[in-house]
């Protein structure tokens, strides 16, 4: 049977049989880049978001305040530029820019990872900033009141809660990254979309190749989103606790006054 005689499904099977290995390799590359870059982006995002939420201490001198303002300005510029331009252009800009201006030839992997991480970091910075602001200020006061230092308060109390609050957004970023690595095909990274273009170009079966590749993308993102959901519920732990049966104090109070002759508590 020639390709021309095949129907839609037979052509899809043909693609999978002949190019299954390449597609899997492309999918693996996509996943590695997406996961590594989401993690690195989180690290960048936490660092930037943390600095942006620092309030100058009342005793800080003018120099420290000045440094903080300059650093915050640079970070804000970074966030705005990388959120405000297409990643495809950023990829071209960084990849060709480094080779033309500095003579550095970034390899496919390092270029891909640098670009997607920096881009994710810019989005994550805003997410982390929001996550930190969403933690009840009382948590900070509770920590300060038992003598925790500013860094201890952040590391032990505020950041873990901020992380939990922004988990859905981190998942969102991972899924966006799985799909958006396709723009890296502009610098020749052989990921899933690049593989699709090679197959469709070689076989002239655009519709079938697109269908197969879309299914692969969807399986990747769907599995990731379910796994993240599961991780979130793991972080939360069980939502109820056996409240009323074992707490003797809670049982007696409200039923009896602690000293009814003197007027009690009511």
């Amino acid at each position: 049977m020639t390709i021309a005689e095949m129907n839609f499904f037979q052509r899809m099977i043909y693609i999978i049989q002949d190019y299954g290995g390449s597609l899997l390799k492309g999918a693996a590359t996509t996943m590695v880049i997406a996961i590594v870059c989401t993690l690195l982006g989180c690290v960048i995002g936490f660092a930037v978001g943390l600095v942006q939420t620092i309030e100058p201490h009342k005793k800080d001198g003018i120099i420290r305040r000045g440094i903080l303002r300059v650093v915050k300005f640079i970070l804000t510029a970074y966030v705005e530029v990388f959120r405000g331009t297409p990643m495809m252009l950023q990829a071209a800009f960084i990849y060709y820019g480094t080779s033309q201006l500095f003579g550095i030839n970034l390899g496919m992997w390092s270029a891909a990872i640098i670009i997607v991480s920096i881009n994710t970091g810019a989005y994550m910075a805003e997410t982390v900033r929001g996550g930190i602001l969403s933690v009840d200020p009382g948590q900070k006061e509770g920590a300060r009141a038992i003598g925790m230092s500013q860094p201890q308060t952040m590391l032990l109390v505020v950041l873990p809660q901020a992380l939990r609050n922004i988990m859905p957004q981190i998942g969102n970023n991972l899924i966006i990254n799985i799909k958006d690595t396709c723009v890296l095909s502009i610098i020749g990274t052989v990921e899933l979309f690049f593989t699709f273009r090679s197959i469709s170009g070689a076989l002239y079966m655009y519709f079938e190749a697109a269908t197969v590749t879309m299914i692969i993308y969807f399986v990747l993102t769907f599995v990731c989103s379910r796994l993240l959901r599961w991780a979130e519920s793991k972080m939360d732990g069980p939502s109820n606790f056996d409240l009323a049966t074992t707490d003797t104090l809670a049982f007696t109070s409200g039923l009896t006054r602690y000293d009814s002759k003197k007027g009690g508590t009511h």
Partner: protein
């Protein structure tokens, strides 16, 4: 008696709003002082200034003779000595009940893990929460949260405990369990400074009562003096609203 805290001419302004005007009083070892007064009279701000959660605008707060506002005592170390219990509990939501009572001990006081755990268990059983050590704060009722918050503060071995309206956010049936714990602390000799609307507690448990109005200490004295023979007409007026519906 040993003097722990001496507040001198304390002033706090928010913008142009003068919330505390020239506050003077002392806290000695074993004192249980209730601070009463209408909402907005500056009671909570006073406590928050003492714990340095708010920066006082003027005056001095002497801790064993050293001015904390002038930086003569390390701020974080000072706070371990002056514990605080909040109206809204402020338990760490990301830690279990037990870890809430341990984390300060291990990270701030640098105690060993098992020593900290033993101490946490001691105070958790004192407040009747030892069965709940694995629970997270959101699994507890308000009264239970507040009792854990008290245990957390006690585990730091503070010299003074500040209570900022500890029962105001609670359902009526949970007020009793928290006041019971506070009463037993007072009987055990803990030095306490309690901002409260629980007049029965102020009258029966404390050894001194401070009545605040408009950012000033209007009247200060023993519970008997304040509740049964107040000198100031404002104190009389304030208390009549509570005694009339008894």
């Amino acid at each position: 008696m040993d003097e722990i805290l001496r507040i001198e001419h304390l002033v706090k302004t928010f913008g142009t709003n003068e919330v505390l005007k020239d506050i003077d009083f002392t806290v000695s070892k074993g004192d249980v002082i209730s601070i009463i007064g209408a909402s907005g009279s500056g009671k909570s701000t006073l406590l928050r200034c003492i714990n340095m959660l708010e920066d006082a605008t003027g005056g001095r707060i002497l801790y064993h003779g050293k001015d904390i506002l002038a930086g003569e005592v390390d701020e974080d170390r000072y706070r371990t000595k002056v514990g605080m219990v909040f109206q809204s509990f402020n338990l760490f939501n990301n830690f279990s009940v037990l870890d809430n009572c341990i984390v300060g001990q291990t990270h701030v006081l640098k105690r060993k893990k098992d020593e900290a755990e033993a101490k946490a268990m001691e105070y958790l059983s004192k407040v009747g929460m030892s069965q709940y050590i694995k629970a997270k704060p959101r699994q507890l009722s308000g009264g239970q949260k507040q009792r854990v918050a008290i245990a957390r503060a006690l585990a730091m071995d503070p010299e003074v405990l500040l209570f900022d309206e500890p029962t105001s956010a609670l359902d009526p049936e949970m007020v009793g369990e928290v006041l019971d714990v506070m009463k037993s602390l007072a009987e055990g000799g803990m030095t306490m400074l309690v901002v409260t609307h629980e007049m029965a507690f102020a009258r029966d448990v404390s050894n001194r009562v401070i009545y605040m109005a408009d950012g000033r200490i209007e009247e200060e004295g023993s519970p008997r003096e304040i509740f049964y023979s107040p000198k100031s007409p404002r104190t009389k007026d304030f208390l009549s609203r509570f005694t009339s519906n008894k």
